[in-house]
Subunit: 190 residues, 2 copies
């Protein structure tokens, strides 16, 4: 089954090695290999992740030949009006998890991760999303994962995402959910 | 002197009425009238305000005929690695000034405002910048201005920008400094 995929390999455009490793793992379990195009690309400022991702894919389609996909993920904290949302990467690199803990003190800690995958199949654009609900932890915990993983506790769990190994994170994560939908689409279309 | 300007009026593209009022006031003092193109436009995500502004101006030049200018302003807090910087508008609309006060607690409060004006003269792009140094106040104070004005105390002052009237703010502000440079350029080029 995986041979057909191998002929025209799927390429994932990202500058983030963590994202590549996590998504590669989900594909690997399904017997599908993906290639990494390590590349930073421009994104527009917008409140809507689907829109940002689609815009990026359209721009990339003029320079990348053939099919490819990309991925955008944001953390949305309810009591902070969705902050940091589409700017999660910038915020992680400035105020970081310590800043998130300061902001959330005394407020409701509910939040969710949203991943949007945009796939360009050579002709059209398709999007697949995954949501993981949870809450912000009281303190920074764990060394796994990246970004907000050390302060995010998924619903029904006690560990932060950074305290889980990659296999466990992959079985529940927003990124994994979006990737599974994507894989189902690929299988259905063959 | 102002007649020459009146023939081909300068147009300022912004969706923000406060920005228009402040910049109009600086021009008015110089006897120059400007027009408001009330419009929201797309911006890319980048750490560099000059780059974001130039990119926006290039895109707008295909839909706006003749000369125009636009303005980007960010608040840069030293101890937060420049946060909120280019995403000042988004951050103001989510965690707001209350969030800034939480983040800065116990840290060094030094910061600055940076305004970048990008002017398209019909053929080329020119940029003018203005910086105002200051520090974050202990509490939110004042009803004037907008955005971060109620938590920003300019160097050498005791009032926040929001406690000053528009005339006083205009005499010292980052936005005003950039606009004055712009006006000097316009005068020199005639």
């Amino acid at each position: 089954m995986s041979d057909a995929f191998a002929i025209d390999r799927l390429r994932f455009v990202t500058s983030n090695q963590h994202k590549f490793m996590e998504i590669k793992e989900v594909f690997r379990r399904e017997g599908i290999a993906i290639e990494w195009i390590k590349k930073k690309y421009e994104e527009i400022q917008a409140d809507n992740t689907e829109y940002i991702s689609l815009d990026s894919a359209r721009k990339l389609s003029s320079e990348i030949k053939g099919r490819f996909f990309l991925e955008d993920t944001g953390l949305y904290i309810d009591s902070l009006k969705g902050f940091p949302g589409p700017y999660s990467s910038y915020v992680a690199g400035t105020i970081g998890n310590e800043g998130i803990l300061r902001l959330i003190e005394g407020l409701d800690r509910s939040c969710h991760f949203l991943t949007v995958i945009t796939y360009f199949d050579g002709g059209s654009y398709l999007q697949f999303s995954g949501i993981l609900k949870g809450h912000i932890s009281i303190e920074i915990r764990g060394n796994g994962g990246f970004g907000y993983d050390p302060v995010f506790i998924p619903e029904g769990h006690k560990l932060t995402l950074a305290e889980m190994d990659i296999g466990m994170k992959s079985s529940i994560s927003h990124r994994s959910i979006a990737t599974q939908k994507f894989i189902s689409h690929l299988r259905a279309g063959r």
